[in-house]
Symmetry: C2
Subunit: 353 residues, 2 copies
DNA sequence: GTGAAAGCGCTAACAA
DNA sequence: TTGTTAGCGCTTTCAC
């Protein structure tokens, strides 16, 4: 077996095909103005030599880097990994994003960044300078961060914002959290619940507002009172326990609760169990996110399933399309979440709340 | 806010500090032969301008790419992600690998490859040619693949093999599967079990052999018979069911079972439940891997916890050390797995098997 | 200890 | 339609 120490470059291909470097470059990049015959010859040489362009060199030459970065919140991501509860967000992002990237010869790099503004500027600058990615995918809670957006604009980097409805530069993609909350609320109303509690997420996440709004609007349409039925957590388990306690210990507790994420839903389940409140007999429970863990609880939890893989794949596609000069849609892209029913919901005792 | 369209390069730093490009380069790379005074001046300029070296350019210049690749089995990884059971392997690799990479200014890129030999050569070639990684981390079942090793050697790329004991080039890292299986077996023996079944993994994974060997050796030391107590699965749930059935339906079924991964352990739990066999009353159960899911079952499963994050961090460290010319250890690196007890084990009914 | 030169593999702008 | 010429930002020689 020959030791090919020297990797083969565009030069070798050009020599083998008997054409200029530029022609090879044109073939590689699928550019026009190459006769089919030439193209075939070059491609034959590429095949034969097993040539693959160097991304570093392509970058240097001033074109694409074939790198797409995802920006994820460092603390939250690491905490999720450490807890080993199954980090659905990152997993599903990789599933959707990496596979789509691979289709186009791109790579996805996960970049963890600090939430604090001054850190984020430094970290993102460094990542951009070092990697020169072709595109960046923003995830909550960074999706609508104006500082990040401006930096990306300055550097002429395409970007997508997952979980965002804001207009402006960059592609906005949403799973329509408001609609998702509505679905959950309507399901409970249909079961004849009248006192439906809601545990909101932290306000630095735009989606927290949308989810709460969806619940609030649906309750209003059904002429149901929401007095004492809203509590706020920060997505953590501890905050979920507090919120659940607040709702359940009130003067007129809910017969159903929707929690804005899995962790808080699990906390609610715990609190209910401690108080001898049966789920779903005494209390129906619906969760947001549908991470692996909610399928294993007793009872398994109904949940809003977020199509993170799909939305990430779309984000990648949009970035690549834009870079390639293909037309891209205008408004926000909507990939709808769905409600997955399991055995955590039931009619309230007595048939009405 | 100024629009810095043109990113700042080593030239700007050199100009600002009033030195040559070369001197700046030396400072960046911490090379000798720079007077402290010069060094300080250059570093001040770097700070001031917020300069970050371009990885692409560094690569081009013929030095490090600051990229480390992990090679993971495509089908298995995607299947895990799709099932959404919490993909512990990849998560934990990222946790350990990314954080360690970040410490040294490296990035980790997850590369999915096909198991088939001819595909793997093509895919790895392409990845190497495109990315020119400084190092590659091999995971089972690719850790001892001689074709991969030879390619990496040919390209002078450092590599680490996770879950390998083989000598030869590349760093071998192991979680000592044999010892882990011994721990599990000994725990059961101490509980007075005498018929301890073992569900092995597929033979294309070297670690399957080690785990089985650990169980076998421990049984032998305790003078316990293993007749009819070994079944083999392929890490899938279906195979786990078959294996469990094979063991439990035998003439003299085990009072305890060790399964070589979580999925097969869960399958065993299911099969037991179907047959009315109580865990841990009638059957003790220990799992390998300790993925999130086994904490949520009823009962939660005792499991061998694989320190994947730590072992990946070590692998990254070894690669970076080698690249930096620092001394690296000789033999295989051992990061020991531990046995996590939960409520799935108990003495056998009647005190003896 | 420092600097000037050449070149890494590729693409953009130009010329033919 | 094709080929030629400059760079891209950095690191490596090898002088000084």
């Amino acid at each position: 077996m020959a030791r090919k120490k020297q990797s083969i470059t565009i030069k070798h291909v050009a020599a083998d095909a008997g054409v200029s470097l530029q022609t090879v470059s044109r073939v590689i990049n699928n550019e026009p103005n190459v006769r089919p015959e030439m193209k075939a010859r070059v491609q034959a040489a590429i095949e034969k030599l097993g040539y693959v362009p160097s991304i570093a060199a392509q970058r240097m030459g001033g074109s694409r880097s074939y790198l797409i970065l995802t920006l994820n919140d460092r603390d939250r991501t690491i905490a999720d990994w450490r807890e080993r509860q199954g980090t659905d967000w990152v997993d599903q992002m990789m599933l959707g994003g990496m596979l789509k990237c691979a289709e186009y010869g791109y790579r996805l790099i996960v970049e963890l960044v600090d939430t604090h503004s001054d850190h984020i500027v430094r970290e993102l600058s460094a990542a951009i300078a070092a990697l020169r990615p072709d595109g960046v995918i923003l995830t909550p809670p960074h999706s609508d961060n104006p500082v990040i957006a401006q930096m990306l604009i300055d550097h002429h980097i395409s970007f997508a914002r997952i979980g965002s409805l804001a207009e402006g530069p960059g592609f906005a993609l949403t799973m329509d959290d408001e609609r998702a909350a509505r679905l959950a609320t309507e399901h409970l109303i249909k079961l004849r619940h009248r006192r439906i509690g809601f545990i909101a997420g932290p306000s630095d996440y735009a989606l927290s507002g949308w989810r709460t709004a969806g619940w609030r609007a649906t309750m209003k349409s059904a002429r149901l009172d929401i007095e004492g039925l809203l509590a706020e957590g920060d997505f953590s388990s501890a905050s979920g326990r507090l919120a659940a306690a607040q709702l359940l210990d009130g003067p007129s507790p809910p017969t159903a609760i929707i929690a804005s994420n899995d962790r808080m839903a699990l906390a609610t389940l715990e609190v209910a169990r401690e108080r001898g409140i049966e789920v779903p007999g005494d209390l129906s429970l619906i969760s947001f996110d549908d991470a692996p863990i909610v399928r294993q609880t007793h009872p398994p939890l109904a949940a809003v399933n977020q199509p993170i893989a799909e939305v990430t794949a779309r984000a990648v596609e949009l970035i690549i399309d834009e870079r390639a000069g293909r037309p891209t849609p205008d408004g926000p892209i909507v990939v709808e979440a769905s409600l997955v029913l399991r055995s955590s919901t039931a009619p309230p005792r007595g048939g009405t709340g």
